[in-house]
Assembly symmetry: C2
């Protein structure tokens, strides 16, 4: 048996996220179907992250096993030949059986993109959240500082009803960058809770709009209660950006 | 009567070009319909360029007249509120009746974008032509130099069967820039023949691929005959970039 690591980039606009669901088109299913076409093997594709409906990936990493190994180059070329243009394999390599795309992650980076100007360029409409009001980047950065570190992020994630779920995560870094009309929120952690990045982005946008005082961030975090003050920012602005092993 | 100039940006992917056609969705028709909704007036929208099916515009300029004038800001906001997200009004201003979006143009700039790497990023798939073979930029630039100036561009345009059509144009500038995997062909002229930029791009790509010798450019230009050596590059790589009055 041979294990393969594939690095994948996708435009999530047309998909119900990464993970296979009955009746819905997902990225995992698209890739598994093509791997089956190429190899005749029903390989399961394991990814670093199960990105949500509409979320994009600049770089997603996954692995799968084949009983009858093929050359890396052959897999790379045939996957890209058969996959739709909104899913691209950017790299393929053979890896040891002890490599696991999810369990071996040491750091994940997500980026949330906001277009902060009156008019949204038509070419970016599927890849940016649009905010016309000039965002206060200093206040967003102050709020972000309160979120860095190891905390219970229940107030900044979506409860999926798993009462035993571990809700402590360590946010290695969270920063806001502005260049022209583009505002980017960069978040790094070993792992994130469900909708955690979009919740943080949703709150930081409210701070930037002046609807929240950055000073309140710690209090909301400590409450461990998700409220309407922490909305999920739209999925189209979110990119899985990088995975480090 | 009041004349308005509107600067427009659009993603041409979903449209059969600028100019109204029966049975096909065009950008001109979309805008005329919305202007009618807003004003109740059947204003004709005159643009600087009738971009072809699938061609994009970073900046297109058009004008129209209203009998009952509205404020610039009201037109700007209501057009953007009612138009689809792939057509955006970037500026609206009142102009004199002697302003004409097409006849007063002093320079048009088109840019043709090529993604020159093995894998096309999924986010750019509708906005770039994909070429895997490493293009020879020096040879493309040499070929481009032979095209600058005042020439009969029949060999680098698509004959529409108008035998009396004037086929001499002055190409003010034509240059090739490469940054990372992106190659851009920048073309400036007062006006272009039908499919002229895509024909030039199609030939320059063949030069870059080593299928044509740049030395032959002058001979092909002088022939005034369009042949298979000058293919039209795909529309999705082409952007109307700027209009100067």
């Amino acid at each position: 048996m041979q294990r393969y690591r594939i690095d994948i980039s996708y435009d999530g606009s047309a998909y119900s996220g990464w993970q296979i669901q009955p009746e819905n088109l997902t990225i995992q299913e698209e890739i598994e179907n093509i791997v089956y076409k190429i190899t005749g093997e029903k390989a399961r594709i394991h990814s670093s992250s199960r990105t949500d409906c509409g979320v994009h990936a600049r770089k997603q990493v996954a692995h799968f096993d084949l009983n009858k190994p093929l050359k890396e180059r052959a897999i790379f070329k045939s996957l890209n030949a058969l996959l739709p243009a909104d899913i691209r394999i950017i790299k393929t390599r053979k890896v040891d059986l002890n490599f696991h795309a999810r369990y071996n992650v040491s750091e994940k980076e997500y980026r949330y993109f906001i277009w902060n100007a009156e008019v949204m360029p038509p070419f970016l409409r599927n890849y940016r959240t649009h905010k016309k009001v000039n965002l206060n980047i200093d206040n967003m950065s102050k709020s972000a500082l309160s979120l860095i570190g190891k905390h219970d992020f229940s107030a900044f994630s979506a409860n999926r009803g798993y009462t035993c779920e571990q809700t402590v995560r360590e946010l290695f870094d969270l920063k806001i960058k502005k260049k022209g009309s583009e505002v980017v929120i960069i978040a790094k952690a070993e792992g994130f809770l469900y909708k955690m990045v979009r919740s943080i982005a949703g709150f930081l946008i409210r701070v930037g709009e002046g609807k929240e005082d950055p000073v309140d961030t710690e209090k909301i975090l400590a409450s461990q209660e998700r409220t309407a003050r922490v909305p999920s920012a739209p999925s189209k602005g979110l990119f899985l950006w990088n995975i480090i092993y």
